[in-house]
């Protein structure tokens, strides 16, 4: 039995999944002061009548990290950077960094050494920091100087946490790695406390199953991994929803999924049964990071969106001024239109019709006004879908073949989940001239997504046969290339080996791995080929542990 928990802005949901069935679900208000309270309450509710010892996995999508950042509850972090020559970075970071000398170049070669005394001097200024982050340019190509600096800092920093840029990702982008390392250090102790509390609470309930935390890209990570890279647990809500869609209605054709809630619609795109991933990491408080996420777009339209006239134009959202009039609110909303149009059946229909009269006046019938509102809302959503597709299409590529052989993304299906999906999704699909699906279970889709999302993990192997070395940044490894003839298949093999090893260490069972990207270049010097640079990034394939084909229990919609 899988237990999935989603801590949302308003409600916290828990579901128990057993044999392709959601057998329990619970909803409780989110307690913002102490997230543990609502988590335990949701867990307790969902486990009524079940044996807690039968839970085999607990997975949590939580706002703990997001809240810490949004509410500014960040630890004081001492940031040390090794930038070498290049762009001035000091004014671009969340805190002013201590700059260390030393430089590793684009091939991962140490060009200038770091100086111990600078690290001591930096520490003198950063003595009172709670945690530290170290980031070096091209440390993903050779983590050596970050590790050296960390070892030196450790002597003074004692037990305090030190985050390294290279351990967060093996990808290029010093600026993003530095921001990521900073935020990782800043939320580190807050996350440890939370993790301790969750573990204790589960133990009390005799749940000894392994605990997983959802990431922004919809993969999960074992709690032990989350404790070292807590920043990955940011902005997980939309990812939980998308993976919920995957298990409820995994689309075989190119598709769009919409999670339409009270105030917003979250849009995701699907190809070959998987959601598309964002080309770049997410930004935290305006600082770009290397934290991977899904390719999503949010538009300010939901069931509670305010409907009104402004300068002879019908405006919908993004404001929300309370619930629908049919539910006791004061102003007309999109939900009132659903009710007046007869698309959903809840609330006070008379009040919904009053709302339509306020908007449509005497010349239009209630139904005409309602359909007009729904049409306007659907138009805005379709525009946002098209913008998301164009943004993806406009993303640069660096090979001629990729530029010339592009085919347009044409969705064939719209999938809708969330409270307001029923009222809007058919209108969106109709405008796009394609089919739609509204899978059952959409109301607790986030908790379902968390329950079933597979753990993921990645490694980046980069071999430079001219230098005779390879690196695996995420593992802090730099070693000699094992033999003279070392080709791309060997690099992939090596990458797979490291990935499986790393996954095993974290307790992740690997079903399948996949290649995220690879590059191969011949090194030519003086008209002679002297070696190859080969990079490959592999990951444990994301997906869901099971598909959901049914449910038991009441209140399912």
């Amino acid at each position: 039995m899988l237990l999935g928990i989603d801590v949302g802005g308003t409600f916290t949901d828990a579901v128990v999944v057993d044999d392709n069935q959601v057998i329990r679900h619970a909803k409780t208000p989110t307690t913002h002061g102490s997230l543990l309270a609502c988590i335990t309450q949701a867990v307790d509710q969902s486990l009524i009548g079940l044996k807690s010892s039968e839970i085999t996995r607990v997975a949590l999508s939580t706002t703990i990290v997001t809240n810490a950042i949004v509410e500014g509850q960040l630890a004081k972090v001492g940031l040390l950077v090794i930038p070498g020559p290049g762009m001035k970075i000091e004014n671009l970071l969340p805190v002013p960094p201590a700059i260390l000398s030393g430089y590793t170049d684009h091939r991962g070669r140490k060009v200038a050494g770091i100086a111990e005394h600078e690290i001591r001097a930096a520490f003198d200024c950063l003595k009172d920091c709670d945690a530290f982050a170290i980031s070096g340019k091209f440390a993903n190509r050779n983590p050596g100087q970050e590790l050296e600096a960390a070892a030196s800092l450790r002597q003074q920093a004692g037990h305090r946490h030190i985050s390294l840029g290279s351990q967060i990702t093996g990808s290029l982008n010093f600026w993003r790695r530095t921001n990521s390392a900073y935020y990782n250090a800043a939320v580190w102790s807050c996350f440890q406390e939370f993790a301790n509390a969750v573990e204790a609470a589960l133990r009390q309930r005799c749940i000894h199953a392994p605990v997983y935390i959802l990431k922004a890209d919809g993969g999960t990570m074992p709690l032990s991994v989350a404790r070292t890279i807590p920043v990955e647990a940011i902005f997980t809500g939309p990812a939980a929803s998308v993976f919920g869609v995957m298990t409820l209605a995994c689309p075989a054709v190119p598709s769009v999924s919409l999670d339409i809630g009270g105030t917003t619609t979250d849009i995701a795109l699907w190809q070959q049964g998987l959601p598309l991933f964002a080309g770049q990491g997410i930004a935290i408080a305006g600082y770009p990071t290397s934290i991977r996420s899904l390719r999503l777009r949010s538009v300010g339209i939901g069931g509670d969106s305010l409907v009104r006239w402004e300068n002879n134009h019908l405006k919908i959202g993004p404001q929300r001024l309370g619930p629908a009039m049919a539910l006791g609110g004061e102003y007309p909303t999109v939900s009132d239109a659903f009710i007046a149009a007869g698309l959903v059946n809840f609330g006070d229909r008379k009040r919904a019709e009053q709302a339509m009269a306020q908007i449509g006046g005497a010349s239009l019938s209630f139904a005409e006004t309602a359909n007009f509102i729904i049409d306007q809302a659907a138009t805005q959503i379709v525009q946002a879908i098209n913008a998301l597709i164009s943004e993806w299409t406009a993303e640069p590529v660096y090979c001629v073949a990729d530029l010339v052989n592009t085919s347009a993304f044409k969705p064939e299906l719209v999938i809708g989940v969330g409270g307001a999906a029923r009222g809007l999704v058919p209108a969106v699909a109709q405008k796009m001239g394609i089919a739609c699906r509204l899978p059952a279970g959409g109301a607790v889709v986030n908790a379902i997504g968390a329950a079933v999302a597979r753990p993921t993990m990645e490694v980046t192997v980069r071999a430079d046969t001219a230098i005779g070395e390879y690196t695996v940044a995420e593992c802090g490894v730099k070693a000699a290339v094992p033999r003279l003839r070392f080709e791309m298949p060997d690099v992939q093999q090596l990458g797979k080996q490291y990935l499986l090893e790393r996954a095993a260490q974290a307790g992740i069972a690997v079903e399948a791995t996949e290649l995220l990207q690879q590059e191969e270049f011949h090194l030519v010097r003086g008209f002679r080929t002297i070696g190859k640079i080969m990079t490959c990034q592999l990951q444990v394939k994301p997906g869901v542990l099971t598909t959901i084909s049914g449910f038991s229990g009441e209140g399912w919609q």
Binding site: P85, G86, L172, P288, P396, C399, V400, A401, F521
Partner: protein, 438 residues
Amino acid sequence: MKKQLGLVFFPAFDWAISPTHPERQERLLYTRDQIVEEGLLDLPQIQEYKPRLAEYADVNRVHIGVPAISPLITEAHLVSAGGAITAVEAVMKQEVKRAFALVRPPGHHAMRMVHGTRGFCTINIEAIMVEYLRKNYGIRRVAIVDTDVHHGDGTQDIFYHDPDTLFISFHQDGRTLYPGTGFMEEMGSPNAFCTTLNIPLPPGTGDEGLHAVLDGLILPALADFKPEVIINSAGQDNHYSDPLANMAITAQGYAKLAEQLKADIAVLEGGYSIEQALPYVNVGIVLAMAGLSYAEVVEPDIQRCPGQSAATTAYIQEMIQKWQGIWRARHDLSRQAKLAAGDFWHRNRSIYYDDSGIYDDQRERVRMCPHCVGYHIIESQAEHPGQGLVSAFAAILPRFACPQCRKDGQDAVHAAKRQGRYQHYFLQDKEQDFLEKL
């Protein structure tokens, strides 16, 4: 809000002239590494653009491919020319203040008539961009400043008879480097006199010499010419570490040049020190064009850069003074050149295609028309390896051609076709914007 810099980055990681050629997949690998690693593409001042594909019509607006352009080029050429067009569009649509097309393959050795590839170039991406700009945005006066170490002989050839294009090239002296041209005496044909400025620099010229030329000659000439658009053919092989040349410019020198030149659009040309120079020079140029500090962009091996000798400094000073004198007297000199030419200006040239092994014997004529810049005839006899002689006759009708020149140019190509001494006949009508093969 308008961003400072649009960056069209296209390293063509799957394209090479041949596996070990300087123009190979690896060329911009380390530049990509550095640009991405610095985080330049994430800066709020910079917008990255995906290049579009140029159309054959864009290419034929400039070039006369023999027997046609399509068999001579690959898709990569259309992408790099398209990248330059994408850059110019971003600037003209006011999405960005300036743009840099950091693309390959390069183009500045490609001349109007194209038989093959020379100096790694097949089609001239700046020239295609300039003519696109004129066609689509009604721009007339354009300045191109070529800062590649090799003389931009292709760009010079294309605009040699065009008084609306100021072409300035500084480069390592043609007596010491490919393509062996670009001397001060090459100043444009009489109707476009002194809109071609060549500044051949001695080997060993460093940042000091480069900036003396910029301050003493290039910037004042630009101020006098008053171009609507300034383009930088931003080759990077004047760098001290370049394996194909002998100059001593640094990343700082190039970045400061970009900062002071204030080009609307820069387009990458050569530069083959792919590890020691390109990552730093490109980051320097990108930062300078984006209006950001490039003070810390210094090559790790900067101590290898030789200083500029006193003799070189003196030589450059003298040349600047000589050029200043010519520039001041340019209107008089132009009148004299027109008088000396008579009814037709003409020249014979031998053009070598080093990458294709083609020798072209070219004869050019331009009518010295008092009403327009005059129609232009190219007669070409090219010896292709394994293929023998490939010959062509082309008449080019310039923009704003007078009715007489339009008629005479058309008559000339039809008459030549009747005589039948050539294999291919072309009419390039720049006014009506077409290239016709007769």
